[in-house]
Amino acid sequence: MKKVYQLETVSCPSCIAKIEGVLNKLSGVESAEVLFNSSRVNVYFDEEKTSSNKIVETITKLGYVVLSEK
């Protein structure tokens, strides 16, 4: 399934690589893409292997605030 997470303003270009890198290594995540200008993360994942909570937790642990998801 696909989920979109709205983060607090992402401003450093290196954050993109970091968030994408970490999420893409997470088991169950098929693909993750950070949209720099809108500060959003698009994640495609397998619900049976991981959960939206786990993804939010991971992003938060990296030091980015997740404002909303849909």
Binding site: T9, S11, S14, F36, N37, L62
Partner: protein
């Protein structure tokens, strides 16, 4: 520092940096200055170190990790000042960059917050304030002066002077009256209106614009994709170089400096900031780009193809001339005759007559002759209403209208004649009007050396009349939707082609063209979906603006890229020949990122009036 905001961290460390710098200059390293430097490193670096470790846990070496390694390394070799300086510059640079980036996103942010959250609904004659999202189609909403219209609707009562800048970028207020259509987010500057809602909040013109812009800002330009691929190799390569350097030369300082410049920040950021600032500027002026690549293609366009009806012309026929030849009121009679018809020409006559007669009676009986017109009965008399052929077939003399008829036939306008069973009573000339700004646009395109082409389903006579009026280079008439697409494909063999259209029949051509440009208001949803650029206000002259803006954006990106490339290569060389040390490396790196962003913000102020 959990208890300090980014701004506070910045201020505290700046003060400490100044004090420490003075102390260091006078006394050199001593216990006090070293302690202060370590404190700065901790305060300024707390968030950096935290992020570095959290990413390392997932086996990702981020820029924060590189800086952390550099700082630890510097402390290890006794370069306390360098350690403090590097982390301070990194932190402050990051802070300033995010502030400036917010500015580039500002015009889009502002756009997002235009939608009013509540609406004043009329329920059983009372005003009730409700969530704008709850408003459904067909409800009555009242909007007072100073408020924003919550959803698209038609005015049923009141009149007002409204500002629709959020929709079309036009800041002059417009007067609206009963039966006028108004858009959500328009501001009522004076007066008040009651509207009957036509769209729900999620479906308004404004919401559609927002959705497009939101999606557009992250659709990457080709240049951006290329740079991202480059930086994917650049960073590991520099880290590898740093490792080799430390093994071969044992020069830790040099290797640490390499780590600091390993992230090509300015390069990665050079295109997205230009795109977001440029797209934001466009949105403010009623031009929606659907992404970075669109901007790049539009910049290269050398042929613009236009659909005729609804694009170059208004798409709604109007009575241009009316002549009466008798005592009876031909205008009223003609409107009576057309009262049952839904044909665009009939509607044009009725609309024209409505200006004099707000209410028009219906004909008692109507007989239709396809392709010719009709005969109708009204108050005991019988009349013919139709074209020249209808009159000839019924032996009505055309002598007195001959001259007019000839004139309008030459102009290719439709002529409708009214007669009783003996003679002509009146004549109506009906034309689809060329948009005021079409002519100006074609001229501007010519001045840019862009070839103009007209594609239309209409017959050749009408098409060439309009093409001549507008001075269009090439005409293709009597086209089916597939034919339009074929013409575009043929043009594409030699040129980069933009197609401008509004209808469902243009959708295919809009998709196939290098850049599809759709009219937002008269345009169908399909046309908007298929297009790459949407002109919100149907203002074709904005095509010229879009072209200028796309050129400005591409130029801005190119300058940014070249600048970033130069900085990266100078830094790399500077480090290797040892003229750039740790803190200078960081300073140049952060400054270059900041400069690139500031340069992009100049696009926010781009205005075509000063350029053409």
């Amino acid at each position: 520092m959990v208890f300090l905001s980014k701004k506070q961290i910045g201020m505290v460390s700046t003060v400490l940096m100044i004090v420490t710098f003075i102390l260091y200059r006078i006394e050199g390293y001593n216990y006090i200055s070293i302690t202060l430097m370590l404190i700065i490193t901790l305060i300024a670096g707390f968030n950096v170190f935290k992020k570095a470790f959290s990413a390392l846990r997932y086996k990702i070496v981020s820029i924060d990790a590189l800086v952390t390694i550099a700082v630890i390394g510097a402390i290890f070799i006794g370069e306390y000042w360098e350690a403090a300086a590097v982390v301070y510059l990194f932190m402050i640079g990051d802070y300033l960059e995010s502030k400036t980036i917010e500015k580039t996103r500002n015009s889009i942010e502002l756009l997002l917050h235009q939608q009013p959250s509540t609406a004043r609904k009329i329920e059983d004659g009372k005003y009730v304030i409700v969530d704008a999202e709850e408003i459904q189609v067909g409800e009555h909403v009242v909007v007072f002066s100073g408020e924003k219209i919550p959803v698209d609707g038609t005015i049923i009562k009141g009149s007002a002077s409204i500002n629709q800048a959020s929709i079309n970028g036009e800041s002059l207020p417009q007067d609206v009256y009963e039966n006028d259509f108004v858009y959500a987010t328009s501001v009522v500057e004076s007066g008040y209106v009651v509207i009957v809602t036509v769209k729900e909040v999620d479906d308004t013109m404004f919401s559609r614009i927002i959705k497009l812009v939101e999606e557009a800002q992250d659709k990457k330009a080709k240049r951006q994709k290329l740079l991202e691929r480059f930086s994917q190799y650049y960073t590991p390569a520099v880290i590898l170089l740093a490792i080799i350097m430390v093994l071969v030369t044992k020069d830790i300082n040099l290797s640490l400096t390499l780590l600091v410049i390993a992230c090509p920040g300015a390069l990665v950021i050079s295109t997205p900031v230009s795109i977001v600032a440029g797209i934001g500027n466009g949105a403010k002026h009623g031009v929606l780009f659907k992404g970075g690549e669109t901007v790049e293609s539009l910049n290269k366009v050398d042929v613009v193809a236009f659909d005729k009806t609804g694009t170059l012309t208004i798409g709604k026929p109007k009575v241009m001339d009316y002549v009466s030849f008798s005592e009876v009121d031909a205008l009223y009679l003609a409107a009576v005759g057309e009262s049952y018809s839904q044909h665009p020409i009939a509607l044009a006559i009725i609309e024209y007559a409505n200006k004099t007669y707000p209410t028009i009676k219906q004909a008692d009986d109507t007989e239709i002759f396809h392709g010719k017109g009709l005969r109708f009965e009204y108050e005991g008399s019988s009349y013919f209403l139709g074209n020249e052929r209808l009159m000839k077939e019924n032996n009505i003399s055309l002598t007195k209208v001959e001259e007019k008829l000839h004139y309008y036939q030459k102009r290719k306008s439709s002529v409708v004649l009214l007669s009783d069973h003996q003679e002509i009573l009146g004549l109506f000339a009906i034309e689809d009007q060329v948009r005021e700004d079409s002519k100006q646009l074609i001229e501007q395109l010519k001045r840019r050396g862009i070839k103009t082409v007209m594609l239309t389903g209409d017959n050749h006579a009408i098409a060439s009349a309009i093409a001549t009026e507008l001075n269009i280079d090439e005409i293709h008439s009597q086209l089916l939707p597939q034919d339009k697409a074929d013409v575009i494909e043929k043009l594409q063999q030699k040129s980069v082609v933009a197609m401008v259209g509004d209808g469902v029949n243009d959708a295919l051509a809009l998709t196939i063209a290098d850049v599809g440009i759709a009219m937002g208001q008269v345009g169908s949803d399909v046309a908007m979906e298929s297009a790459d650029v949407v002109l919100v206000n149907d203002d074709v002259s904005k095509i010229s603006y879009a072209l200028s803006l796309s050129k400005a954006i591409v130029k801005n990106m190119n300058i940014n890229i070249i600048f970033a490339m130069i900085v990266v290569s100078f830094l790399l060389m500077g480090v290797i020949v040892k003229t750039v040390n740790l803190s200078l490396g960081m300073l140049v790196h952060e400054l270059s990122v900041l400069l690139v962003i500031i340069h992009a913000t100049t696009l926010l102020r781009f205005n075509v009036r000063s350029k053409v």
